[in-house]
Structures are given as C-alpha cells and as structure tokens.
C-alpha cells in the first residue's frame, strides 16, 4: 500500500498542540493504520487540549473525552454498546503515561483482566506534560521534571511487563521514530479480539528539553540506544522488531549517552545515575530475552 493511500484524516490541521508534537505524529499514524471505523476515548492529558475548542474538533474520529481515570471503563461500555447495535467499530483509548501508569492504572488493569475488546494506546512522554512537566510513574531515573528538580530517584514503572502479566492477547511497544513499525502493529492489533495494549514513545521537546524539530530523531535514538524496545507479544509469543534486533546483544547496542546527551532533562546526572540507567536497559533486555 502506498503512503498516499494512508490519508485517513484522524487529525485535521490547526490543532492546539505545541509545534513538533509527537502525540500528533502518533495520532496521524493511528489514522493511517486503522482507517475510518474507529471511536476514540481520550482521557485527561495533552490530547484533551490538542483537539481545540468546541464545537470544532481537530480529531477526525468521534471522541468521548473523559475524566483521567475512566478511559478503560468507558471503552468497556462503549464496545459493548456497539456490539449490541451490531456495529463494527474499533474502540481506541488514547491516554498519556500519567493516565496509564498512575491515576488510570486500576481501570486499565480491570479492563485488561476482563479482556475487554478494545485497543489501549499509551502515548508515553514520561511525565505530566499537559500540566507543565511533573514526574509520573513513567518518568525514568535521573530525569529532571518540575517536581523532581534534582532528578527522579528510582526507575520507570515497567508498564510493558505489567500489561504482559495480565495475559492479554496483544501487547506491543512502538516509537514515533519508526512510523511503519507502529502502523504495522496497529493494523495487526486491529484484527485481534480482546484487550490490546500498545505503548508508544512520544518524546516531548518541551519536557525533555530538546529542539522540537528533532522529535523524530530523538524517538529514533531511544530505539537505537535500546532504551526503548520495539517488540510485540501476541498470545505470549515475543517478536522483536528489526529496528531493535541489535539490542539483544549488549555489544551491538549504541551507547546510551547518545540518547541522553541530546536532552536537557538529563543534564545533571552523575556517573552513578548513568550506570543506573544502563542497568535499567540491561535488565529490560534480559527480561525480553528470557521471554523468547
């Protein structure tokens, strides 16, 4: 399929997003992958603002905006309503890492346990960016946020593994640095029944402190340095994307500092913090290897 055929307008020009917004990139890719028959639930976050001012809406999908913690629950009601009305609609929850790892985790976990039939997309920018960049459970060790000016102590909450432990049919990670990989995963997810979880790395120029024109590059660096894995787990079987295959061996990984040094949020990390982050990457891949 040529790229020109992928122009489902999931997002219309003139959004309220900051320039260079990675969430908008991801939203456009969702449109390219899932086509028209989609209904969305957007929980509190940047995307509540990005849609712009009613009665206009910058998203090309019908959206139920909803309170922070209620996305997975509302989606559970929504797909069942479509089913009762004999409508073939893909229900998608769109949430940030705060909505996913923190305030919304109970309802996410509940919906996953019930194997509700929808796609949950977590756009992970590793902090509460909509309220100005406060730390979330998904903020990595050492990162400076407005509430951790000394750098966060403790690692990122491992949502990937937490969701895998729910034994849902489809779990994947993706990065806006690699659109084709994300689009392919979304297309495959669309054809799976039951609960599907995809966590998409969306590097935020204003929270991570880099030039907004570099959003795509930073999203690639995260994958190249193996900080962010591109994997897909279907029915318990792990598949590592081509872009991440080099991460399986420590020797072939690109040095983590190539990813960290382009971001202002790591400007104060010590040698020990750096080692801590390297250990995080090692354990991440050890765990992925142990599953395959």
């Amino acid at each position: 399929m040529g790229l020109q055929d992928l122009r489902t307008n999931s997002l219309l020009p003139g959004t309220s997003a900051c320039p260079g917004c990675p969430e908008n990139m991801a939203m456009r890719m969702v449109g390219m992958a899932l086509g028209k028959n989609v209904a969305m639930i957007v929980v509190a976050g940047c995307s509540s603002v990005i849609q712009g001012i009613g009665p206009k809406n910058a998203y090309g999908y019908p959206v139920l905006n909803i309170a922070f913690a209620a996305g997975p629950a509302a989606a559970s009601g929504m797909w069942r309503a479509y089913k009762q009305r004999n409508k073939d609609v893909t229900v998608v929850v769109w949430a940030g890492d705060g909505g996913t790892a923190d305030i919304g985790f109970a309802s996410l976990s509940g919906a996953a346990e019930r194997n509700e039939d929808f796609i949950y997309l977590c756009v992970d920018n590793e902090a509460y960016m909509n309220s100005g960049g406060q730390r979330s459970g998904s903020t990595p060790h050492g990162a400076i946020t407005t509430t951790t000016p000394e750098g966060k102590r403790g690692n990122k909450k491992e949502l990937l593994f937490l969701m895998l432990d729910h034994n849902v049919p489809f779990v994947a990670t993706a990065s806006v640095g690699y659109p084709q990989d994300l689009i392919d995963k979304l297309k495959r997810a669309k054809d799976v029944n039951g609960f599907r979880y995809i966590q998409i790395l969306t590097p935020d120029p204003y929270g991570w402190l880099f030039d907004p024109s570099k959003t795509a590059e930073v999203a690639k660096l995260a994958v190249q340095t193996c900080y962010w894995p591109l994997i897909e787990v279907v029915e318990g079987k792990v598949k590592v994307s081509n872009e991440s295959l080099h991460c399986l061996k420590k020797e072939t990984r690109r040095p983590l500092k190539d990813f960290l040094s382009v971001q202002g949020r790591y400007r104060r990390i010590s040698e020990k913090d750096y080692e801590e982050l390297e250990k995080y990457v090692d354990s991440l891949w050890d765990r992925i290897k142990s599953m395959s």
Binding site: L3, Q4, R7, N9, L11, L12, P13, G14, T15, S16, A17, P19, G20, C21, P22, N24, M25, R28, M29, I50, Q51, G52, I53, G54, P55, K56, N57, A58, Y59, G60, Y61, V176, P179, D211, P212, S213, K214, T215, A216, E217
Partner: protein, 88 residues
Amino acid sequence: MSSLSFEYQFFPVSHPAEGAGGKTGNWRVVKPIVSERCIACNACFLWCPEGTIQVRGKRAEVNYEYCKGCGVCANVCPVKAISMVSET
C-alpha cells in the same frame, strides 16, 4: 411535543473541523520552503505533526495556513530539500 420549544437545550458536542485550535500558521517564526531537490518520498508527510505537508505530484506542498513551523519536516528529509526560513 413539537409545540414545545427546546431552545434552552445545548450539548457539549463537537465535529471534526480544520482550525479547531485557531489559525495556527500565525504561530510560526520560521517557515519550511521545499526546493526542487524534493524526491517526493513522503517522509515529511509521514512525520508532520499537523498534517500540513503533503506530496502532490512530484513535490511536497506546505499548508501555510496551519503549519506551525516546527521544522520536523526539514530534519526528516533524506535529501535536505526543505529549509527553514525566517518569517521576518
């Protein structure tokens, strides 16, 4: 029931539309200019956060009404066909 007036009824409902966040072209300080080096590869289309650049025919075209001038397109262009030029 048709005789009753429902004029007081108002619902928080919206519809897809361009410019829901305003005429965002005004946000720009630099603007992307596409040169003849463009090979119509679609990389800019794929990554543009606003959907304001599309390949028509053999060259990418920018929708300046809404382009915010973030410069992502210039960076992802494999042949450096897009340059960011000051608005002033």
